[in-house]
């Protein structure tokens, strides 16, 4: 399959792995954070840890939008959809994320009209098809998905559609990286930069990470070869005592980002003064809301929203895992009270969450020396 198989070629991968071993040597330990949940998923799915030398440690970052969403927001969104006239539409990612009284899927089982959509424009299509009902799109995601929400709102306004609102949970990646770097117990050498987010924001917003924080960053694709090449780039920088932003994912990410997407976001959204992140707490200017000129499409302005706040169970150590201080299996609840089927903490809910990825792909994997099947 084109654009996939080229980046999974065994010869090239073993070459890259060899280069990494050569550069990494044995005399020091490297801690690299992959910011994006898509990378976390890829690392486990492709078993990259088996290929990397032991002194390269990958720390899973905060870039999983489902994982960092506080439970109270889910409760708030679902409370609007209690009205039988409301259709609750969201991405598949959201469907199993638990609120206090259950996930959207559990609410669907009890009769709520919950629909899985593939894009915000599909939610708008639902609004067109059901003019007598109200469609609530529960929007999540970083800058990757925010432009399509913005464009959908622009389209709804242009078409004069009145039975469609967005419950906006879009967040931005840079403040989260800053929060991680500001954390006192954080010791990182470099970042594997998010690929999809960067198709929208470009590479420029990361320059402070290199200049001010002195950490190398390589914006990376999601195939095994992409990630290995990014690690090679970072090792070169670290060996040479450099810190700069490099773009490994040039085939998709333009340095300046996607101007049309940024323009649409700027037109529809403004920054919230602060927003709560699960595991990280309140981060200022880290999330988006609809501008007042689009208030008619803003569920938080059109509906009574209870503003529920739910604290995570004290035993769950999501924050420590999210910041890379603990590995998923070192959390007290991992694999016992907290599993993908019955997630307690944030990181167990999405397959991009580090705990779920670790549970699904790594857990129980014993040290098998001979893996080749005769």
């Amino acid at each position: 399959m084109r654009f996939v198989d080229e980046f999974r070629k065994p010869e090239l991968i073993s070459k890259a792995a060899e280069e990494i071993r050569r550069l990494a040597g044995t005399d020091r330990h490297y801690r690299m954070m992959e910011v994006c949940g898509g990378h976390t998923h890829a690392i486990y799915r492709f078993g990259l840890k088996d290929i990397l030398p032991e002194n390269i440690e990958l720390i899973h970052g905060p870039g999983c939008p489902v994982c960092v969403l506080p439970m109270g927001r889910i409760d708030d969104g679902l409370s609007i959809a209690k009205d039988p006239n409301v259709i609750f539409a969201a991405f598949g990612d959201m469907m199993r994320v638990p609120g206090t009284l259950g996930s959207p899927l559990e609410h669907k089982a009890r009769g709520m009209d919950v629909r899985i959509v593939y894009s915000p424009s599909d939610a708008l299509k639902l609004a067109r098809l059901n003019p007598d009902r109200h469609v609530l799109f529960f929007a999540i995601g970083f800058e990757t998905t925010a432009p399509s929400t913005a464009l959908t709102i622009l389209r709804a306004k242009a078409e004069g559609i009145h039975n469609f609102t967005v419950f906006c949970n879009h967040v931005t990646i840079i403040p989260a990286i800053r929060a991680i770097l500001d954390s006192p117990d954080m010791r990182l050498d470099a970042f594997i930069g998010p690929g999809h987010v960067s198709t929208v924001i470009g590479c420029r917003p990361y320059e402070w990470i290199a200049k001010d924080a002195g950490k190398p960053i390589a914006v990376s694709g999601f195939e095994p070869l992409d990630m290995l090449q990014s690690i090679v780039m970072l090792l070169h920088q670290l060996k040479n005592g450099e810190a700069k932003v490099e773009n490994q994912y040039k085939r998709v990410v333009p340095w300046e980002g996607n101007r049309a997407a940024l323009k649409a976001m700027g037109e529809v959204f403004q920054l919230r003064p602060y927003f709560e992140w699960r595991g990280l707490g309140f981060i200022s200017q880290s999330a988006l809301r609809l501008r007042d000129s689009y208030a008619e499409f803003d569920a938080e302005q059109r509906f009574e929203v209870p503003g529920i706040r739910v604290t995570d169970p004290r035993a769950a150590q999501c924050g420590e895992v999210l910041k890379g201080v603990l590995k998923p299996h070192q959390c007290k609840l991992f694999g016992r009270e907290c599993t993908p089927e019955h997630p307690v903490g944030a990181l167990m809910v999405s397959s991009e969450g580090s705990c779920a990825a670790y549970f699904n792909y790594e857990h129980r994997k014993t040290a098998l020396t001979q893996l080749s099947v005769a």
Binding site: M1, V4, R8, K9, P10, I13, S14, A17, H41, Y44, R45, F46, G47, L48, K49, D50, I51, P65, V66, F91, G92, D93, M95, R96, L105, E106, K108, A109, R110, I116, V117, Y118, S119, D122, I140, G141, F142, T144, T145, P224, P340, E341, S350, S351, E352, F359, N360, Y361, E362, H363, R364, K365, T366, L368, L371, S372, V373, A374
Partner: protein, 357 residues
């Protein structure tokens, strides 16, 4: 429906049984063929209906009727839409039950059919499905002995549901028993995976995606008969990986036999359209449903003859040895990639949902 592989008569009654099913309500996940469904069957159905000590769950029950052993199974079909590229609910209803019997080592002889119809269903739709059933039954060499019809109010069902119950004659020489599986045994897969599940997902029209793809629904009996003729005594276990996919079937095997299953990713046949859709939607082809494939565990010395026999049957050309049984990782399925990585493959949790953000 999964059955206990048991020859003893089913006993129920006033004895105290332990109900381990604690879920508060039934959700779609309980019918998706994965972990939740297993919990329901093992925690509620088995203790109350089959007695206190459930053994491994198979695709059909083997019962003794006056000295003759027969296989019996039942299955319900609620697919939406009722017809899709490559097949329809009527065809599935016949093939599904024929296949459950086939992978239990039995040739379907007789089926009975139940229709649950929604008032307002156009007769032409029903006729098309009954014709599809007749055709599939003829192809599989199975007789329809009778049936039942219920009609529910408009809106209380989704067009039509079909349930089929089948009785099969055991194919000589085959014994299906997870306890007979040994390290070194080979895992055989009859052909490309994921065609049915992805075809249905796309046929629902909710995702704006199109692909040149057809459901793989078919009777696997001819392939299993060929396999039995060539290597009957080498066959240890079989399963048709329907809901929950290959991953769920093999996890059930790993758990039932207490051994590890190690697969080689590059040996697992997957059509490009299925791979592409799975890449886009964040799904794993190993979790996607099939309706015309089966998995078999064969003793290593029979692997070559089994493969040869299968490759000569129409539809078996793409069969592959996809891995083997090992001591470790006990109770789990591990997949290795051609570039040296590996990962654990778990059972499906809930329904496969597209991953977007």
């Amino acid at each position: 429906m999964r059955f206990l592989e048991t020859n003893s008569p089913v006993t129920t009654g006033a004895r105290s049984v332990s109900i381990r099913f604690r879920d508060l309500q039934i959700e779609m996940a309980h019918g998706a063929g994965g972990k939740a469904g297993r919990r329901l069957v093992e925690g509620l159905f088995a203790p109350l209906l089959y007695g206190n000590s459930p053994g491994p769950l198979g695709d059909a029950g083997i019962v003794d009727l006056g000295g003759t052993q027969v296989a019996i199974t039942t299955d319900s079909f609620v697919v939406k839409p009722v017809s899709f590229p490559g097949g329809s609910i009527g065809e599935l209803a016949i093939n599904g039950t024929v296949n459950d019997l086939a992978v239990s080592g039995a040739k379907a002889e007789v089926l009975v059919v139940t229709f649950v119809l929604e008032a307002g269903l156009p007769s032409s739709v029903l006729e098309a499905e009954v014709r599809a059933m007749a055709k599939a039954a003829q192809a599989a060499g199975v007789r329809i002995a009778g049936g039942d019809t219920k009609v529910v109010e408009h809106g209380k069902a989704d067009q039509m549901y079909i349930s089929t119950t089948g009785i099969g004659r055991l194919i000589q020489g085959i014994t299906i028993d997870p306890a007979s599986v040994r390290p070194g045994d080979k895992i055989l897969l009859s052909g490309p995976i994921g065609d049915h599940g992805i075809t249905i997902l796309l046929a629902r029209g909710e995702l704006d995606m199109e692909a040149d793809l057809r459901s793989d629904t078919r009777s696997v009996l001819p392939m299993i008969e060929a396999l039995a003729q060539a290597a009957a005594t080498g066959i240890r276990w079989m399963r048709d990986p329907t809901r929950g996919g290959v991953a769920t079937s093999l996890n059930e095997l790993a758990r039932d036999c207490g051994l590890g299953i190690v697969l080689q990713e590059e040996r697992i046949p997957v059509h490009d359209a299925v791979r592409g859709a799975c890449e886009l939607l964040g799904l794993d082809p190993l979790h996607i449903a099939n309706e015309g494939q089966f998995l078999a565990v064969v003793a290593p010395e029979y692997a070559d003859v089994a493969m040869n026999a299968l490759s000569l049957v129409p539809g078996g050309e793409a069969a592959q040895i996809i891995g083997e049984v090992r001591e470790q990782p006990a109770g789990s399925v591990l997949i290795t990639t051609s570039y040296g990585g590996s990962r654990i493959i778990d059972m499906l949790v809930g329904d496969p949902l597209p991953r977007i953000c």
